[in-house]
């Protein structure tokens, strides 16, 4: 059973194609990570799924409803949180929750109960009467999430939910997302933090409007040819310059934190004699670098 099914979905703005011929499926109850740089078409895709934008061509369904025809039916059942944390700055925490509760027609005791739950979830119980404008990023983020899941949506769309938030808040946020997924909510989340993507059951890479891969993280990691090795060094940039100037033949080379990553054909590994190295399983970032570079070559 699929919560989301897209077939050749395309959206153009004038002569600019923001989303080009995207086909994908998201299993009910899974976390689907939608990765790509800014302006690659992530938000446009999500907005089409939420009924905020109409597709130029192609078809899509969310929870079995057609996104072009039944967008009002879809809206009853989805939660959406955008990168802007769309809260009312001049209202208090609780007023924001009450407002969105009203928008989803949550009645008296049920509504109160849900609002209480969300206050606990966001850790804002003690600050419920503060104006939202006085909250820092992490709190706003959790409040915005609370507002978008008040009505217990069966699918949750998160558009760059962790942008500009401190690492601790990011971790707390993902804990909440995990719990939601365990309770059966399907989640589609966009991010440009590759490490976050490792948390997802399936991943779609979108680049310049094209979906260049969609699969599980484990499978994607196998698509990289050759062997990825890591050379630890205090000066990765310096070593990079040295190796780029050497005769070493490699598929790709780049810095990653305190080490240098080299992608090599397995049989050529013997060429490396001067450095200590270890073989590593690629991270999603390595996968993305590889996919983007091969896409560019096309």
């Amino acid at each position: 059973m699929y919560a989301v099914e897209l077939t050749n979905l395309t959206r153009k703005f004038g002569d600019f194609t923001a989303v080009n011929d995207v086909t994908l499926k998201i299993k009910t109850g899974s976390i689907y990570g939608f990765l790509g740089p800014n302006g690659s078409g992530k938000s446009t895709t999500i907005r089409m799924l939420c009924g905020l934008l109409e597709p130029t061509s192609g078809r899509g369904s969310v929870l079995g409803f057609d996104i072009a025809k039944d967008s009002e039916m879809i809206k009853q059942k989805i939660g959406y949180m955008s990168q802007k944390f769309s809260l009312y700055d001049d209202l208090t925490v609780i007023e924001n929750l009450q407002f969105y509760g009203g928008m989803y027609s949550l009645s008296g005791s049920l509504g109160k109960g849900r609002i209480e739950e969300m206050l606990n979830l966001a850790g804002l119980k003690d600050r419920q009467d503060e104006l939202v404008i006085n909250l820092s990023g992490g709190w706003k983020q959790r409040l915005a999430l609370g507002c978008s899941i008040l009505h217990k949506p069966s699918i949750l769309f998160l558009d760059e939910p962790t942008g500009g938030v401190d690492p601790k808040s990011r971790r707390m946020f993902w804990d909440i997302i995990y719990d939601l997924a365990l309770q059966g909510t399907t989640i589609m989340v966009t991010t440009h933090f590759m490490d976050e993507a490792e948390h997802c059951d399936e991943i779609g890479f979108i680049f310049e409007g094209n979906l260049i891969a969609s699969s599980s993280p484990a499978y994607l990691k196998q698509t990289i040819p050759g062997t990825l090795i890591r050379i630890p060094t205090d000066d990765p940039m310096g070593l990079l310059e040295i190796l780029e100037g050497s005769l070493l033949s490699y598929l790709d080379i780049y810095c990653s934190g305190t080490s240098l990553h080299l992608l090599m054909e397995t049989e050529k590994l013997a060429q490396i004699t001067d450095f200590h190295y270890e073989k590593i399983t690629p991270a999603l970032e390595d996968v993305f670098v590889y996919l983007v570079k091969s896409h560019r070559k096309e």
Binding site: G36, P37, N38, G39, S40, S136, G137, G138, G163, G164, V165, D166, P167, K168, S169, R171, W174, D175, Y178, L182, H192, F193, M194, D195, E198, H199, F207, E208, P217, A218, D234, P236, M237, L240, E241, Y254, C255, S256, G257, T258, A283, L284, E285, F288, V289, V292, K293, R296
Partner: protein, 298 residues
């Protein structure tokens, strides 16, 4: 080269930066890391001479008055602030003329910089039609036109694809090798690893400032890397010696107080009947360090 003593900046009642003392020497790549609203942009703007501090003393290249040294400073703001309606080359030329350079000088320098930033093939393209990564390279190029001694960049790589990010950092590295002092803010921890020193900002305060290695050494806890396939691991690990447990890629990072806790974790998980695929201590990532620092500051 740059010296800040008890510098504060407040916007009305809101504190932007609180009592920051920093010294940045020539030839550094100095990183500013922290969430949105931590004060990174305010600090960079003060060094760039766009904002004046409310309190404290600041010397850039020995000068108190920022106007005198403006020609030695390059500044790339967070928001793309070039003209979208002009081509790459027109933007560069405009910047050159603003710094009062002669026409031949501008042309020579422009070619050199566009070549360095790999923008030469796109010099006739409108800035609006560049991708996110290329726009950032153009902003970098524009900031370099007048050969600054100190180069300030405010989140130049946020939301840019990983490949462009790497290329961008490689350029910064080369500029630094040629003697340029670079101050850069970033939300990406792997980029922080590439800096000579990193200041971690939180709520307007510099919580710590050290080399990446130095920061890691001050980390008060230990990090265990755990591989085990069970979605409920966090619940089993609700024991006093475990401070935190987070998903990290396809593994878990378990933060514990001391080495003795390693055994305790292993025993607890085995008692719960879980199969531990791997459990070992690893050096903390910068992100771990910052999470710990952020908790102290609050």
């Amino acid at each position: 080269m740059i010296k800040l003593e008890h510098v504060s900046k407040n916007y009305g009642r809101v504190m932007g930066v609180k009592d920051v003392s920093l010294e940045i020497s020539e030839g550094e790549i100095f990183g500013l890391v922290g969430p949105d609203g931590a004060g990174k942009t305010t600090l960079i703007r003060m060094i760039a001479g766009i904002l004046s501090p409310t309190e404290g003393e600041m010397r850039v290249l020995g000068a108190v008055n920022p106007e005198i040294i403006k020609e030695y400073l390059g500044y790339v703001p967070q928001k793309f602030s070039l003209y979208g309606e002009l081509t790459v080359q027109e933007n560069i030329f405009l910047l050159g003329s603003l710094y009062g350079q002669r026409k031949e000088e501008i042309e020579e320098r422009a070619n050199q910089i566009l070549d360095f930033t790999k923008l030469l093939p796109f010099k006739e393209r409108l800035a609006d039609h560049l991708s996110g990564g290329m726009k950032q390279k153009l902003a970098l190029a524009a900031g370099l036109m007048h050969r600054p001694k100190i180069f300030l960049l405010d989140e130049p790589t946020t939301g840019v694809d990983p490949v462009s990010r790497r290329e961008f950092w490689q350029m910064l590295y080369r500029l630094n090798k040629d003697g340029m002092t670079i101050i850069v803010s970033t939300p990406y921890m792997d980029e922080a690893e590439l800096c000579s020193r990193v200041a971690f900002m939180h709520n307007g305060i510099v919580a710590d400032c050290n080399s990446p290695q130095g920061l890691r050494q001050t980390y008060p806890f230990r990090v265990l890397e755990l591989s085990a396939k069970d979605p409920n691991i966090k619940r089993y690990l609700a024991i006093p010696s475990v401070l935190e447990c987070n998903k990290f890629g396809d593994k878990y990072h378990v933060i514990v107080k001391d080495r003795a806790a390693l055994k305790e974790v292993a025993l607890t998980l085995e008692a719960a009947g879980l199969v531990i695929e791997a459990l070992k201590e690893i050096p903390p990532t910068l992100e771990d360090v910052f999470v710990a620092l952020a908790s102290e500051v609050i």
